[in-house]
């Protein structure tokens, strides 16, 4: 049943689309977007041909079920761009960058089957607009590189956590203190990935204030409090330390296992980079993350490095399509790093509480300066 209706629909769409060519201007929106109306049994695209370059589809769901819209490559398999989860009555846009060639558009009402497809032609790009033919390959390359980075950081995190846990459990406080911040940097570099595991994140990285009355306080910050004990705090017993340490290693290994098979999408990388800077803005530059150890600048550095890796993996996607953003990000990453370098001491950094208010404000404004263009990265790489 599905096949017949799809075939019939393609026919209908073909006719509509042909008819649509003539009144293209009335159906396209002011910004030159191609309008797509998805119903339960039709996919009306306002035109079946357009110029190469950045193409925007406004997809309106006039059906009763959730729909999706795809731009597929000539083989009908490779996805050039997609927009999912369009609820009934809802309009979403899809921005893709496509070079000259043959494509298919497809709506998928109810999110099942092959979708209601129609041929779509992209002509030569306008003069001066260079469109890479292998954007999908660039995206794949970026996400593969990032996945490898996540694995590597995780490996180092496991090894570091084992050393830290040993020192902590055995009561070698000096060693444990010296390992605390550098080891956490492996966590902080990939924080959005680690945080995506809602069960592991709180037991490994929750701050005391993050917990509800009666919840167990475990993980890094539990150890932090014990090592840099505040006034009136009663230190853990040997067996309590042992318990915390064992659990940290166990959970970190679990995190490692789970990240081995992770696959990423370009928007996850870009959003992850933005989130890392958000973490700096709301936790590190305010000195809230490391309440007892005051090693917030180590975390700051790690968040910044993690964001920079994601940006650099994605950077080839900006070349020739958003050089201005690329340049701005490059400059602002370097500028913030330079600001942070001023607080280096030996292998590490100054403690947060030794910074003056003016220095903190300066750092915060550096974070804002980088975060603002970084928030534009997602839209630039998904097209």
């Amino acid at each position: 049943m599905n096949k017949t209706s799809t075939a019939a629909a393609v026919l209908v769409v073909g006719t509509l689309a042909l008819a649509g060519c003539t009144d293209n201007t009335t159906q396209a929106s002011a910004d030159g977007a191609i309008s797509v109306v998805s119903t339960d049994d039709a996919c009306n695209v306002s035109t079946d041909t357009t110029a190469g370059g950045t193409i925007k589809f406004d997809v309106k769901n006039e059906g009763s079920a959730v729909t999706e819209f795809y731009l597929l490559a000539e083989d009908g398999l490779r996805i050039v761009g997609e927009v999912e989860n369009i609820g009934p009555g809802v309009t979403r846009d899809l921005v893709v960058m496509a070079p000259q060639g043959k494509y298919f558009t497809a709506c998928k009402p109810g999110m099942v089957g092959d979708g209601i497809r129609a041929a779509f032609t992209v002509n030569e790009a306008a003069d001066g607009q260079e469109v890479s033919a292998d954007r999908a390959a660039l995206q794949k390359n970026a996400t593969d590189q990032y996945a490898a980075y996540v694995k590597d950081q995780n490996e180092q995190l496991v090894r570091g956590t084992e050393k830290f846990a040993d020192a902590f459990a055995s009561g070698d406080e000096e060693l444990a203190k010296s390992l605390y911040a550098p080891t956490r940097m492996h966590w902080e570099r990939i924080e959005p990935v680690a945080e995506s595991f809602g069960d592991l994140d709180p037991i490994l990285d929750a701050r005391e204030a993050d917990l509800e009355d009666g919840e167990d306080f475990t993980g890094w910050h539990r150890a932090e409090k014990d090592l840099w004990a505040p006034k009136g705090y009663t230190k853990m017993t040997e067996s309590e330390r042992e318990k915390i340490a064992t659990k940290m290693v166990e959970d970190t290994k679990e995190l490692y296992t789970r990240t081995q098979s992770l696959e990423f999408t370009p928007d996850q990388l870009a959003n992850g980079a933005k989130e890392l800077l958000d973490e700096v803005a709301t936790g590190k530059v305010t000195g809230e993350e490391e309440t007892f150890s005051h090693t917030d600048l180590w975390d700051f550095q790690a968040n910044l490095e993690g964001a920079k890796i994601a940006y650099e993996d994605l950077q080839p996607l900006l070349v020739g399509t958003d050089d201005a953003l690329d340049e701005e990000l490059k400059t602002n990453f370097a500028a913030l790093q330079k600001q942070l370098d001023a607080y280096r001491e030996g292998d590490g950094f100054k403690y947060y509480q030794d910074l003056s208010d003016a220095q903190i404000k300066e750092l915060a404004s550096g974070v804002d300066a980088l975060s603002e263009p970084l928030s534009k990265l997602t839209a630039a790489v998904v097209k």
């Binding site: 809802v90 999110m111 204030a209 958000d278 804002d368």
Partner: protein, 429 residues
């Protein structure tokens, strides 16, 4: 248009301002003057009609709860210094009288702002002279610490502490600042004009010197809920419509089930007709929110930013379909704000929300100190607030952009009749 002409033809509330009253008053006392002026002004209208810019003070319930939400707020919490029960009652009597006057757009006391002794400071501070009543409401309630503090009962209120007036627990991610939380007495002043709301708190604080002092206060602008079906749904500082499904004044059954304390459901008879007020100062990480993609923002809220419709489609008031499948689980994400706090997820429990946007300038890092001053009225916070807040702080993805900095729970006393004072039910029960 029609309303404007009606206003210019027949004198209504807007013209019945403080200056007129004062010039008409002489030495006669405000109440008398209002009576006299009121009589001629409303000769052609129905008797007892309250001018449009005034909200009635006396009644079964206090005003400022289901009153059509005004746009401005100044709320203050007080700690009581008075040692004796009589002194506390005297303060409440003085406040009751002043509130009644201010809600009618009058200056407080007998000589107001400019008609007193040349050698004494004026009774009323005067910054509201010439302004209309501006639909001022003042709502008063008592915190747990009025009844007992440091293990000791106070003001002879042994056995009068309602079970429902609990100490709110610490919720996940709370960063509560004690100096702007709790307090013995809460006073919420709402008005259409910020100067009128601030005038009210300022004058009540002044009347309280020596008996009670301000513990903290908060100014709010821009209502974030509608409390009447005639009002449109406002937006919060995240730019989203807020309070779409709020209980409104017209929903009597919902009010009786979720807002007004019923005689049979409280261990304290004096609370019948009252309510419980929850306040939370919820700072928003405005700058990081503004960098979130539109898609992320909508997934966090569970609604479209433009129309306010749920992600499952329809219009603003279309019921969300939490079962509608999307490509990765439900189309309304399970950790979105509406999925976590919707009454469907909480046995149909609802609150009457009456929050305001606030901005207290910027913090030292150049970021807006802004967010939502959440206010809700419920029959019992144990069933109507705590579980919902627990779910929100544990499961709501939006909380990543929020930080709760103050917290408070207060027993809102029932309304009073003319001649009574606010809280009289408690002290005479």
């Amino acid at each position: 248009m029609h309303e404007e002409s009606a206003e210019s033809e027949s004198p209504k509330g807007t013209t019945l301002n403080r200056r007129l009253l004062l010039s008409a008053m002489g030495a006669g006392g405000a109440g008398l003057a209002l009576g006299a002026l009121g009589h001629s002004a409303y000769a052609s209208q129905k008797s007892q009609q309250v001018p449009d810019d005034q909200v009635p003070f006396y009644g079964e319930h206090q005003s400022g709860i289901i009153t059509e939400a005004q746009d401005r707020m100044h709320t203050a919490a007080f700690d009581v210094q008075a040692q004796s029960r009589d002194e506390l009652i005297e303060l409440l009597q003085t406040w009751t009288q002043a509130i009644a006057q201010m809600m009618q757009g009058q200056p407080i006391g007998t000589s107001g702002a400019v008609d007193g002794s040349y050698d004494a400071p004026p009774e009323d501070t005067g910054e509201a002279l010439g302004l209309p009543a501006s639909r001022l409401t003042v709502t008063v309630g008592f915190g747990r610490t009025l009844f007992e503090k440091d293990g000791k009962t106070r003001f002879g209120l042994d056995g009068k502490l309602p079970e429902a007036l609990i100490e709110l627990p610490h919720f996940r991610s709370d960063m509560i600042e004690e100096a702007r939380s709790n307090g013995d007495i809460i006073v919420q002043a709402c008005a259409d004009d910020p100067q009128v709301a601030v005038h009210a708190i300022r004058n009540l604080a002044r009347l309280a010197f020596g008996k009670a002092n301000v513990r903290w206060s908060q100014i709010g602008f821009g209502r974030t809920s509608k409390t009447s079906s005639a009002q449109s749904t406002p937006r919060n500082l995240f730019g989203f419509k807020d309070g779409t499904d709020n209980i409104v004044a017209e929903h009597t059954d919902d009010l009786n089930a979720h807002v007004w304390v019923q005689k049979e459901q409280t261990d304290q008879a004096w609370m019948a007709g009252g309510s419980y007020m929850v306040i939370r100062r919820i700072r928003m990480h405005i700058e990081t929110w503004d960098r979130a993609t539109l898609g992320e923002q909508e997934n966090l809220v569970g609604r479209l930013k433009g129309s306010g419709a749920p992600l499952s489609g329809g219009e603003e008031f279309t019921a969300p379909d939490f079962n509608m499948a999307g490509s990765n689980g439900p189309i309304i994400p399970v950790d979105s704000h509406i999925a976590v706090v919707h009454p469907d997820a909480h046995k149909g429990i609802r609150m009457l929300r009456r929050g305001f946007n606030y901005t207290d300038g910027s913090d030292g890092l150049g970021r807006l100190d802004a967010g939502l001053f959440f206010i809700a009225f419920v029959t019992d916070a144990r069933t109507h607030f705590v579980p919902i807040q627990q779910a929100m702080s544990a499961n709501d993805a939006m909380t990543e952009y929020l930080r709760n900095t103050s917290s408070g729970l207060y027993a809102i006393v029932p309304g009073v009749r003319e001649g009574q004072y606010l809280g009289q039910q408690l002290f005479e029960s």
